[in-house]
């Protein structure tokens, strides 16, 4: 039941993101998608992930995007311009691929018992700081690099 709800939310909202034309609405709908995604994670018993999801996506990323939206003047022009000329082709290809893939998706048979029984925080943290120490460090470097890059790109030229 929850699953159906969330699934609907995800797909519906996602679709809207693609189809709607008012950009702010799109951003908010994206947030909605993320929220539903968090729900899904809960269903799958990954509270921590869900938490991160809410924090990072619904929080940080959405905000960032909204900033982006604000900074760049949005021209809402006619529908024809709003989609690219190649739309039909794109649709065709996407469908051609999506259908079999989604079909194949069902080849994963095992059943999942949605349970709130969680407590995945500790193991997650543990593995993150022991086994995955290295990627973790790398990831931190990545964030740093991204930071530097972002700054370099947006800072005004010094006189």
């Amino acid at each position: 039941l929850f699953f159906a709800l969330f699934a609907l939310g995800i797909i519906g909202a996602g679709a809207c993101v693609v189809l709607l034309r008012r950009i702010t609405a799109q951003a908010l709908l994206m947030a909605l998608t993320f929220a539903c995604m968090a729900g899904m994670f809960l269903l799958l018993g990954a509270e921590t992930i869900a938490l991160f999801q809410v924090l990072i996506y619904v929080g940080a990323i959405t905000i960032l995007i909204l900033f982006g939206v604000m900074f760049t003047k949005q021209d809402d022009r006619g529908y024809g311009l709003f989609f690219q000329e190649q739309t039909p082709w794109a649709g065709a290809f996407i469908v051609a691929i999506a259908v079999p893939v989604i079909f194949l998706a069902f080849s994963f048979k095992d059943a999942i018992t949605p349970s709130a029984k969680g407590g995945d925080l500790i193991p997650l943290a543990a593995s993150l700081f022991t086994d995955y120490a290295f990627p973790f460090e790398v990831a931190s470097v990545l964030l740093l690099a991204a930071l530097v890059g972002a700054i370099v790109l947006v800072k005004r030229d010094e006189p």
């Binding site: 690219q84 190649q86 082709w89 794109a90 290809f93 996407i94 051609a96 691929i97 079999p100």
Partner: protein
Amino acid sequence: MIQNVWLIPAFPLAAFLVNALFGRRWLKRWTGPVAATAIAASALVAIGVFLEVRAGAASTIVPLYTFISVADFHVDVAALVDPLSSAMLLVVTIVSLLVHVYSIGYMAHDHGFWRFFTWLPLFVFAMLILVLGDNYLVMFVGWEGVGLCSYLLIGFWFERPEPAGAAKKAFIMNRIGDWGFTIGMITTFLVFGSMNFVDVFERVAKDPPAQGVLSLICLTFFLGATGKSAQLPLYSWLPDAMEGPTPVSALIHAATMVTAGVYLVARSTPLFDAAGPVLAVVGGVGALTAIFAATIALVQFDIKRVMAYSTVSQLGYMFLALGVGAPIAAMFHLITHAFFKALLFLGSGSVIHGVGNVQDMRQMGGLKSKMPITYWTMVIAGGALAALPPLAGFWSKDEILGSAFKNGYPLLWTVGVFTGGLTAFYVTRAIWLTFHGQPRDHHLFEHAHESPRVMTVPLLILAAGSVLVGFIGFPPDHGFIHAFLGPSVEAAHAGAAVEHGTDWAEFLTLAAISTAIGIGGILIGLTMYARGRPDPAAVARAAGPVYGVLVNKYYVDELYDRRFVDLAKAFAGAAWAFDIHIIDGLVNRLGWAIKLTGSGLRRAQTGIVGNYALSIVAGLLLVMVVYGGYATGWLGR
């Protein structure tokens, strides 16, 4: 002496080198004497060799060094000294000597003096190689060598277009003949495993190969001979060759080089004898050429051209002789012809020189008084050519006709005899127009003068020759020459006629007939040109078309020069166009096509991110399909 036979070609070669290196700067006028003395030296040696051979020295091979030796193919540079070659040596060296001496006077005022006396010894050298070679390859070397020299000497006055053209024509026509020679020579090797005359003739005697192969060999050789000896169909270069200095015409295009073909066939007598039918061809071509050329000679006005056509015709006689299986007769005529034809040329040269480089007989006339020596020598030579007894030409030509008759070729005989008449007519005509009657060009007549001694002396010597040489063939069929040459040429059917002595009756009748016809020719000539009735012009008009055809030499030159050459050029042009547009064109088009594809693909690079993403997705689809294909196996594994 025989062991030193290599000296004979060595002297001219030395002369050539000396004159070539030092002639232009230092020797200048002295090149003439240098060359002449060199030739004289080799003439002496030649005489020595000749005497030894005459004394009965066996035919010997004098090897010099290995020329080419690859696997089973081995050829030495070696000299074969036997009666045939020694006789040839003698003729060549002596005539050359005389011509050299004569040229010193004739070319005296030419700015290319040194060049002339560089090429002339080179020619003699090559000719001697040709004569001496003990195998076909070395002979071929000399063969091409003389061709080269004739090219150089015909084109001696290269500033003018005609000589240059004539030279090229001569060389190329010879090349066509040489093509035959090459094929013949190589086939010979394949069949007999050797190119040495001795081996080849032995083998052909022991186990003659298939008739067809043999005929092929002989025919190709004969093709070569026709090229060199100006027989049909490759004769037309010789008249043009008259563009060269007259001594050259005398030496190369009358006495020596052009007879190389005859020499070749005579050399290969054993082969030709073995290949019966080919002989008939040889004889036929010879006879045809003889009459063909003689008819043209009837109406020419350029004195040298008359002589040229006469040479062609006389060579025809020689081949006729070979064809009827009388090589000795051929050689005999070759020798006599060398003398009187050389004399005729030198004589006309002396005339031309005397009147200042005019060759058209219509401008001459009455020169008898001005240049008596020339006149009388010319008359003798003419007589010899017209085969008046007892001059040289009589014996040799009569022997040819005789053997033609005896060996059962009546048709050839008739042709020969008739041609004899024509010969007599045109020679008379030539001499009369030149020396008798009223001078037709007074200015020219005034300045005419007898040539200096350096030129007249050779004339006299040759005249003596033209009178006497004939007697080496006396008595007919059993003269010195037959005994001498017999062993070397008639190895196949040695001394066929030797058993029964000379058949005088037969000889006399035949001789009478031919002589009569000859005299007839002379008389007609005299009446026409001396008495003027029937008036030549009238005759010409009466003959109408025939006359036209003759004057235009049967339009052969037109045919060759225009039709063939134009065709060839057109073809070559087409080939080139093909090269540029098809072969090369394809390559360029390929490049062009590739570039077109490039700019086509380039348009796919729209610069729009969306399209790029699309192509990525498309690629994904593609990859999935292919994977699926391999997985499900409908793409095979």
